[in-house]
């Protein structure tokens, strides 16, 4: 049985990370306010939310499977307090931090309309930290970290995120960016 739980834990962990990457990429696309062919702004928004929630779901599965697996020696306390576990303490601690952050971001996302904007934006910004933490956790704790296919996925997704990140910082990233800049030129006091 432990073997099964271990498998489920690994698979769901990897799927969650892929979905997280997808959500992040969609989030960066959505922030630009542009549509990309068939991917309308609305669709980007919907997919961003779905990917995020699914990612959380697979993390839940990942955590439950680990708790069930007696060989993994993960206890309930490890879900709440990072850097307390017995197996590769540091990397597992990262997993805990990632889980807690993910819960915070998801919760504020669901309650978005009821929260003040600064509070929502502040916590949502923390989602940028999620991916590095998750990737590090996977590389440090993951049993498949050494495998070639895992490394390929890691490098490819890192490249995609880096590209998106660089694009995010360019001057004409946002839709209407140049028209708005032109209009505002006269607004400086």
């Amino acid at each position: 049985m432990d073997e099964l739980f271990w498998s489920i834990a690994r698979t769901s962990g990897i799927i969650s990370l892929c979905l997280l990457t997808g959500s992040l990429l969609l989030g960066i696309m959505a922030r630009s306010g542009r549509s990309f062919g068939a991917l309308s702004r609305y669709t980007q928004g919907l997919l961003h939310r779905s990917f995020s929630l699914l990612s959380l779901l697979f993390v839940a599965l990942h955590v439950i499977a680990l708790l069930a697996d007696s060989y993994a020696r993960v206890h309930l306390i490890d879900l709440l307090i990072p850097f307390f576990g017995e197996y590769r303490t540091f990397w597992q601690g990262l997993g805990t931090v990632g889980l807690l952050l993910m819960l915070a971001v998801s919760l504020t996302g669901l309650l978005r309309q009821r929260l003040s904007q600064p509070m929502f934006r502040g916590i949502h910004l923390a989602s940028y930290l999620l991916r590095p933490i998750a990737v590090a956790h996977g590389l440090g704790n993951g049993s498949d970290a050494g495998a070639v296919w895992y490394r390929v996925i890691t490098v490819v997704s890192l490249a995609l995120v880096a590209t998106a990140g660089i694009w995010r910082l360019t001057a004409n990233y946002a839709d209407h960016a140049s028209a708005r800049r032109l209009a505002r030129e006269g607004a400086k006091p």
Binding site: R184, G186, A187
Partner: protein
């Protein structure tokens, strides 16, 4: 203070009302001139007088003050929350000097109005918002009365800092910028309490009506615009402040101030958020009424600026619109982007750059920004631009062909 019926119902008041206690009136002079504050037993009567007076707000909005007070009372009763009263003396309009003047020379009338309203409404807090320059005088005035229930708040001096929700935001520790309206202030304003926010001149009038009655108040002004108002008049780089009847004839006021009609090209009525007129035979009223004769133009915060013949009206308007564009709170997209664009187009017109489309472009931009912001800044700024295009049609035509009717400036 006597209640003689004035011989003329227009123009500068024969006898001052707000400034009757003289310049820099101290507590003793104030009491000598106006008598003590009416006792609490007259509170119901005072409310009735305020209602009957027809007093409209003197901060630019011209909303019937009694209705505002009644709305706050209703909210307070309904929500069972004690209301808050805020006297707004922040005067963000750069051409307006009357609030500063009132706070320095007749602070006790303003405080009377504030304290009376707070008492009658059962307010939990009273605030007086004004620029820090007048705070020393206000603190003195409060000390003279031994009054410690009024809190002073220092406001910023930029244009929008005097806007109602901007004052509220500032009082709540936030930026002095307008907020998106979430219902009326009378329902939920400062920290969610029913809030009465009125201009300091309005408070001073309330203090006088409470003592002398609505009938007395109406011996000045007209039925449509009862009472008096303070008017700041700008001419050739200098200004004066006078108390005038409601619905005063502008031509009469200018005559009384010895500004010859022959020297006047145009008058800006209502300040930077106002309108132009070439014809001084209009009435300075609380609200616009272009269907009556003579035409009534809104005095706004009681500001007029005289434009003489040596100035180009389009250049002056362009200057003002530049200022208004820079004064944007920069929170709302259409205002942040639309106003500077409109300002640049107007500047091109003022600088006589040949482009036949400019007036039409300006009109379109004006329509684009109107109603698409969380406050009325873009609307009023657009209206000024349109007013200039309408009133100075001849000048616009001249500028389009590269000349100017009023200056000998080199074409840039």
């Amino acid at each position: 203070m006597t209640t003689t019926i004035p011989t003329m119902h227009s123009g500068v008041l024969e006898e001052p009302r707000l400034l009757a206690a003289g310049p820099d009136a101290r507590w003793t002079e104030h009491l000598e001139c106006f008598g003590p504050l009416p006792p609490t037993t007259s509170d119901q009567q005072i409310l009735a007088e305020w209602d009957a007076s027809g007093l409209a707000g003197r901060g630019g909005g011209a909303f019937p003050t009694a209705r505002k007070i009644a709305a706050v009372q209703r909210s307070a009763a309904r929500t069972r929350r004690a209301p808050v009263v805020i006297g707004n003396g922040s005067e963000g309009e750069p051409l307006s000097c009357k609030d500063q003047l009132l706070l320095v020379h007749a602070p006790h009338l303003v405080l009377d109005g504030l304290l009376l309203t707070s008492r009658i409404l059962g307010a939990s807090h009273s605030w007086l918002a004004a620029k820090s320059g007048v705070h020393p005088r206000l603190l003195e005035a409060l000390a003279e009365r031994g009054e410690n229930s009024v809190a002073l708040h220092a406001t910023d001096s930029h244009f929008l800092a005097g806007q109602a929700t901007a004052v509220m935001s500032s009082l709540e520790g936030g930026p002095s910028l307008p907020r998106h309206p979430a219902g009326h202030l009378s329902d939920a304003g400062l920290a969610g309490a029913p809030t009465l926010l009125v201009n300091v001149e309005t408070l001073a009038h309330l203090a006088l009506i409470a003592r002398y009655s609505a009938a007395w108040f109406q011996t000045a002004g007209t039925a449509a615009d009862p009472g008096s108002r303070l008017l700041t008049i700008h001419d050739q780089g200098r200004y004066q402040v006078h108390e005038v009847h409601g619905s005063s004839d502008l031509s009469l006021v200018l005559e009384q101030l010895q500004i010859s009609a022959a020297n006047i090209q145009a008058v800006l009525v209502g300040g930077y958020h106002g309108q132009w007129t070439k014809d001084p035979r209009i009435q300075l009223a609380a609200t616009n009424d272009v269907h009556r004769r003579p035409v009534a133009l809104a005095a706004g915060a009681g500001v007029i600026e005289v434009l003489r013949h040596d100035a180009c009206p389009l250049e002056r308007t362009s200057q003002i619109i530049d200022y208004l564009a820079r004064s944007s709170a920069r929170q709302c997209g259409p205002c942040l982007h639309g106003l500077p664009t409109l300002a640049r187009d107007f500047q091109a017109l003022a600088q006589r750059r040949a482009n036949a489309q400019l007036p039409e472009q300006i009109r379109r931009l004006g329509a684009l920004v109107t109603g698409r912001g969380s406050c009325h800044h873009p609307d009023a700024s657009a209206r000024l631009a349109i007013s200039a295009l309408q009133v100075f049609g001849d000048e616009v035509a001249a500028h389009r062909s590269g000349t100017c009717l009023h200056t000998t400036q080199e074409q840039r």
